[in-house]
């Protein structure tokens, strides 16, 4: 293990290390702590200049209910879910199919198509923006949630395919070969043999895509116009304009926007990290 385990160092060093951990963490998360404290302090504190000290009274419940009362935050959160969940399902299921095709069959086009998916995944959003708007318009789905979901799902299919293909490629290929010799059909192999084995990959992709789409701001701004359809990321930004100088409410709303991905992360941490590191772990 590198660096050398701290247990081997002198006890003074060990103590210093253990003491430095919370201090470092405090500094690292200072912005977040500050915003959390702000979200539970009364408005009066901010006006009197008590922005970073201990709140004069704790108004957690009051502030958060105020956000829901004064703004459509509940609607925004719901919209985010309506956009995120279908995207997650479509992208991951399509990627199971494409990833399987690219990993199992050694056909000439496997590599070029795989690289097409990877390359498309890195492309800047702006070069897709106008044609996607135009296309959605012509399909009559511009400014609708399905239109946004369709694009998100198509785009995320690239990343999911990359991940799925690598995952399936790492499975023992003899398994599939022997099933084929037994005369099992291609679709049965896929459904009964490979699908149960890729469950961890599905979990990893599901949490990642959830987080990516939940946190998306650009495409929601571009593809949705009606306030009633906006997801929480765009909503929070417009709340920022609405609650001018009501920082306790803005910060409460911001934290609300952050809660679902954070919960997702803590619940599925192992899968989440496995997804983000994409096999850099196998190294």
């Amino acid at each position: 293990m590198f660096p050398a385990p701290i247990e081997k160092a002198s006890s003074a060093k060990q103590f210093a290390y253990k003491a430095s951990l919370p201090i470092a963490l405090f500094i690292w998360l200072l912005p977040l702590l500050a915003i959390f404290l702000t979200s539970i302090r009364p408005a009066a504190d901010i006006n009197t200049g008590n922005v970073f000290g201990i709140p004069s009274s704790f108004q957690m419940i009051e502030n958060y209910t105020e956000v829901f009362r004064q703004s459509p935050a509940g609607q925004y959160l719901l919209n985010s879910l309506i956009i995120t969940i279908p995207t997650m399902i479509i992208a991951v299921s399509l990627a199971c199919l494409t990833g399987y095709a690219l990993a199992i069959y050694n056909f000439r086009w496997a590599m070029p198509i795989f690289f097409l998916f990877i390359a498309g995944n890195f492309v800047p959003f702006q070069i897709l923006m106008l044609p996607v708007i135009d296309m959605s318009n012509r399909l009559d789905v511009y400014n609708t949630v399905p239109g946004l979901v369709l694009f998100h799902a198509a785009f995320q299919t690239g990343f999911c395919t990359l991940f799925m293909r690598n995952f399936i490629k790492a499975l023992p290929q003899e398994l599939i070969e022997s099933a084929r010799i037994e005369g099992v059909g291609e679709f049965r192999i896929f459904w009964y043999l490979v699908m149960p084995l890729v469950r961890p990959a599905i979990a990893a992709l599901a949490v990642l895509i959830f987080t990516f789409i939940w946190n998306d701001f650009f495409w929601a701004t571009v593809m949705l116009q009606d306030a009633s359809q906006l997801p929480i990321t765009v909503g929070v930004k417009s709340l920022n304009g609405q609650f001018v100088n009501q920082w306790h409410l803005v910060s409460a709303a911001s934290l609300l926007a952050a809660v679902p991905p954070v919960l997702m992360f803590f619940a599925m941490q192992r899968h989440f990290i496995a997804g983000l590191t994409l096999g850099a772990t196998k190294g």
Partner: protein, 396 residues
């Protein structure tokens, strides 16, 4: 007739039934899709008065029909003798068909469409018959870019982002090395350090925007501690007097971009850290031991033993950092909207602003900016793909 034969013929019969059913379903789906279902009919069937409201149900009906058509087409295909003879060749294409079509339609083709837009003057409108009102102007948009000072500002800022964002990699490595221990509770520390990455960039932008506030943000607070005193005048009003005025980080052209980059680094460092933490987990203990026996310690060990083994993590960190830097949009939109005076524009934001932002919809000009951004990205994409290609070949 033996039992086996009965089974075979029975199976054939069910398959024949299935094929007939699939054929009928395919025909029905296609006819409905192309001839019967449009907005007007959906609206009249569902009793919706406003055509606009019928868009979403209409879309879903069409989607269901499309999926039905696809599934029945596949059932037909896999029952042909041709498929049965060539299934190893044909099966991958069936698996790929939907995902690949989807991806090509929404991601690959738009790249080229965008490039073609960049040679036109267009405001995004179409005539009633669906034809575009774009007017071909050749390289005019690019000539205009060359003379646009905002374009150069954006380009310069993109460069700043690219260079400064790279700091995330060494800092992330540093934190990973700091946290790569096995004391009690370290797992919680690791997750909490990773925290910023999970939060939306909009939220990070808001947090930092408030942090930078000169009057009541953190910056103002710290500044006040060093440079300001509170004075009470005769009437009793408290007034803050500063020897040097606190910097308005996001309000001044010379600091604003740096302010946003620092905010952007926060989650990016967390990402690089997690990449390195998993990388460090997989460093072979034997090699470290061998290095120790050879007398390698600290920095030397890191450079000659550890870093080479961390190459996959480093590669991935570079990839995501470059992409993150060139995709910087959310933070700029939340923190400054490109201001003050366009000084924090990057190509991504400037393109949005020109094409559908405050302006009047300069699709052609916006596409030209996007094309430049894409060209920059293409350099990196080619490099990444080349590296991956080499890895793949070595892997075989």
């Amino acid at each position: 007739m033996t039992i086996e034969n009965t089974m075979v013929s029975h199976r054939n019969e069910t398959q024949m039934g299935m094929v007939a059913f699939a054929g009928a379903a395919l025909a029905v789906c296609l006819i409905c899709l192309f001839y019967l279902v449009d907005i007007e009919s959906t609206a009249s069937i569902l009793g919706i008065e406003q055509l606009v409201d019928a868009r979403v149900p209409n879309f879903f009906i069409r989607l269901v029909l499309l999926i039905g058509a696809l599934v029945s087409a596949f059932i037909l295909i896999i029952n042909t003798a041709f498929y049965k003879r060539n299934r190893i060749v044909l099966a991958p294409w069936i698996f790929l068909s939907v995902g690949l079509t989807f991806f090509i339609v929404y991601v690959i083709i738009p790249i080229f469409t965008s490039i073609s837009y960049s040679f036109t003057r267009w405001n995004g409108l179409r005539r009633a018959d669906g034809s575009s009102t774009a007017e071909w102007i050749g390289l005019e948009n690019y000539r205009m870019l060359m003379e646009d000072p905002n374009f150069y500002t954006s380009l310069w800022n993109n460069l700043l982002w690219l260079v400064l964002f790279m700091l995330a990699i060494p800092i992330g490595l540093g934190i990973a090395l700091f946290l790569n221990q096995t004391v009690t509770g370290i797992r919680i520390y690791k997750s909490l350090f990773f925290f910023p990455f999970v939060i939306s960039q909009v939220v990070v932008g808001l947090i930092f925007g408030w942090f930078y506030e000169p009057t009541f943000g953190m910056v103002g607070e710290i500044w006040g501690f060093f440079f300001c005193t509170e004075e009470t005048n005769i009437v009793g009003n408290v007034r803050t007097v500063c020897s040097v005025d606190p910097p308005h980080i996001l309000g001044e052209a010379k600091y604003a971009t740096y302010g946003i980059i620092v905010a952007g680094l926060w989650p990016q460092i967390a990402y690089c850290m997690i990449l390195y933490l998993t990388g460090l987990n997989n460093v072979s203990p034997d090699q470290i031991e061998a290095g120790r026996l050879d007398g390698a310690k600290g920095w030397k060990m890191l450079r000659h033993v550890i870093l080479p083994q961390l190459w996959p993590a480093t590669f991935l960190a570079v990839v995501v950092t470059v992409i993150g830097a060139l995709r910087s949009f959310d933070m700029i939109a939340t923190m400054t909207s490109g201001g003050p005076f366009g000084s924090t524009n990057v190509l991504a934001y400037y393109m949005y602003d020109q094409a559908i932002g405050e302006g009047v919809g300069r699709y052609g000009y916006g596409s030209a900016i996007a094309t430049v951004l894409f060209a920059i990205m293409l350099v990196y994409i080619s490099y990444f793909l080349w590296q991956m290609y080499k890895d793949e070949r070595e892997g075989r």
